[in-house]
């Protein structure tokens, strides 16, 4: 099936080579980072995780959101999703690979990465993160590929895939739960020290992931002969709005607990993010933008007439995706580090090389996604012909 990714029109190849170009440029910045060290980023002694880990956290969510297709299709036999479930699984593959690349980009000594396996340490959440992420990658590769292969041969998927598919449901939940545990088990970081972090991560993931998938559906419909289907897209839109509402609900729970209890360690971070602290407020405009985007997205998606208009739906999905990207990425990570444990304010903002490296990782993800979707659409077109 892979050969289908090697046949495409001019636009396809222009797109592929543009991505390769972006990867090449970003890679030169990564070489610079390897040579100089992480000092080329905006990270500092107080904000020790930044843009890379923010992207990692966000993308784990996008990867986990494939479960929003798997559950309706395989557990509830919602037939319509049969058409696009593989799109979700392939998106998960590309996302997990980006996650791994972002982790590697963030390491001070990437050559020693395998020390995590050489000295396995079960009390470290990072060890578990490695296990669940690589497991999830394998599950989705095996399931997505084999189901597509079966579809191509017009036979039902092999029986041995069933348990794997069922396993992928809790496994998807686990990848984002463990990602939340990276943060919420740390004693001195009031912003993250909340049991609602993992549920909130999942809720925002189930909004941002399907929102992105809807946009992908529109693109696929436009540039290929395969139509993911109006019903499918509308159902996904409902998933997005449920997820986004749950996310906002959890967020408001956070705000209430922090602001009503008025415990400084919990309150100061929110204060910093939304109003600035001791005269520092680089993230304030970003956070309000994020909130405005998410809320507007919810309103647009809640009104049936607006949701059913695909132009409005596309806008709502872009809003939801970008809003959650800001809030869960930069806001969540940088916000937890400011103020620092000594209650000093040292801010963080990504530098140009840092952003370029991140863009290159995204380009790599999009390249993988392009190839996978090309194969997927190729099979669909072949069946329709």
């Amino acid at each position: 099936m892979l050969e289908k990714a090697l046949k495409g029109n001019k636009a396809y190849w222009i797109w592929v080579f543009s991505l390769l170009g972006i990867i090449a440029v970003g890679f030169t910045f990564y070489l610079k980072q390897l040579d100089f060290g992480l000092g080329i980023t905006g990270m500092n002694r107080d904000v020790t995780w930044g843009f890379y880990i923010a992207q990692f956290t966000f993308l784990v969510g996008v990867a986990a959101s494939a479960v929003m297709l798997v559950i309706p299709y395989y557990l509830h036999h919602y037939k319509a999703f049969g058409k696009i479930t593989i799109m979700g699984e392939f998106l998960a593959i590309a996302s997990v690979i980006m996650c791994i690349l972002f982790i590697i980009a963030d390491l001070g000594q990437p050559m020693r990465l395998l020390n995590v396996i050489l000295y396995p340490t079960p009390n470290s959440m990072l060890f578990w993160d490695m296990i669940v992420l690589s497991g999830y990658l394998v599950i989705n590769l095996v399931v997505g590929w084999n189901v597509l292969d079966a579809e191509r041969n017009s036979v039902p998927p092999a029986n041995w895939l069933k348990p794997l598919i069922y396993l992928s449901v809790p496994w998807a939940i686990s990848i984002h739960t463990v990602t939340a545990y990276l943060y919420c088990g740390l004693p001195g970081r009031g912003f993250w020290l909340t049991a609602v972090l993992a549920p909130r991560f999942l809720a925002s993931a189930f909004a941002a992931g399907p929102a992105f998938l809807i946009l992908l559906c529109f693109i696929v419909r436009k540039v290929t002969n395969f139509d993911p289907g109006r019903e499918q897209i509308q159902t996904l839109a409902k998933v997005v709005v449920y997820g986004s509402c749950a996310n906002m609900f959890f967020f408001l729970c956070e705000v209430f607990v922090a602001m009503y209890s008025q415990i400084p360690e919990h309150m100061d971070h929110l204060q910093y993010l939304f109003f600035g602290l001791h005269g520092h407020g680089k993230l304030v405009p970003w956070m309000w933008t994020a909130m405005a985007l998410i809320v507007t997205g919810i309103i647009l998606l809640l009104i049936p007439a607006a949701r059913q208009n695909e132009k409005v739906l596309a806008v709502a999905c872009v809003f939801t995706f970008i809003g959650i990207w800001i809030d869960k990425g930069m806001g969540m990570v940088a916000g937890g580090f400011v103020p620092n444990p000594l209650h000093e304010v040292n801010e963080y903002f990504p530098t140009f090389p840092e952003v370029m490296i991140a863009i290159a990782v995204y380009a790599t993800g999009f390249l993988i996604l392009t190839f996978l979707y090309k194969v997927f659409v190729g099979v669909k077109e072949e069946l329709n012909a």
């Binding site: 001070g108 995590v116 990276l182 001195g188």
Partner: protein
């Protein structure tokens, strides 16, 4: 044709997995073989005769004896001996021990009407060598670990630079080498290694000095303001001080159980 290719690919895949796991076994195998057959294993390791040992090392900081000058001397002594670099950019800063104000050292003990003396007083802060260290729990490679004598140490050879320990430390005691530290070390101490870029570092309670019978550098420079000893030994000087005086610890509500006490 299809079948042939498929079975060939299957065979190749299985062989590849098999071979790579063999080589993995090999790695473990040789690792052990070296330790048991190499003559190096015939040697024995031991402490220096005059090494200082304890069950649980700890420190008492007597704030009554502190001055700005003493704090600055301690910092200089520590940073010189351990080759701690001095960068102009604050972003890349590395520090093992430094002086701060009461409100930063004890942000959870904010008092509206704090005694005047404490408001002005310089407080030295450094790694607390917690009995229940969150950094050790977080480290995915055991590059940071707790020794039997309670000292929380860094194995710079093993650190992958993920900075999870820095997120886990509730005291901001850890620094990361955002760049090569060597050019920024003014007066290099050849007896102690420098670090390389991409690893985390922090106060080591002068483990290398204890091993040869010397007290930590900051204690020597403190003019009696820092007292070092065995917290597990009821007859030690630190325990005597703690018996006589009211002492506080940084964020002890977090359960990390710091081994550094401050007499106020």
């Amino acid at each position: 044709m299809e079948n042939n290719r498929r079975s060939f690919l299957k065979f190749a895949g299985i062989s590849a997995v098999g071979l790579s796991s063999l080589s993995l076994l090999d790695v473990f195998g040789t690792g052990k073989a070296v330790a048991s057959t190499g003559q190096s294993a015939e040697g024995i390791y031991k402490n220096e005769d005059n090494a200082l040992t304890a069950q649980r090392w700890g420190m008492v900081v007597d704030t009554r004896k502190l001055t700005e000058e003493i704090c600055s001397d301690m910092e200089k002594a520590c940073h010189q001996i351990h080759n701690v670099p001095e960068f102009e950019e604050k972003r890349h800063e590395i520090k093992w021990i430094w002086e701060t104000e009461y409100k930063h050292a004890f942000p959870e003990k904010q008092d509206e009407f704090l005694t005047e003396r404490l408001k002005e007083l310089p407080i030295p802060v450094f790694c607390n060598h917690c009995a229940n260290p969150p950094c050790v729990q977080a480290c995915p490679t055991q590059a940071t670990f707790q020794r039997k004598d309670g000292i929380v140490l860094m194995d710079f050879h093993r650190c992958i630079g993920c900075r999870f320990c820095m997120a886990a430390c509730p005291y901001g005691s850890r620094s990361f080498n955002f760049r090569d530290p060597r050019p920024a070390i003014k007066d290099e101490n050849p007896k102690f290694p420098t670090r390389m870029k991409g690893v985390v570092e922090k106060c080591n309670f002068c483990a290398e000095r204890l091993a040869v019978g010397q007290a930590p550098a900051c204690v020597e420079a403190s003019e009696g303001a820092l007292i070092f000893g065995d917290l597990a030994n009821p007859d030690s000087e630190v325990r005597a001080l703690l018996k006589e005086n009211y002492a506080i610890r940084r964020k002890q509500n977090l359960g990390s159980n710091p081994s550094v006490y401050y007499l106020v």
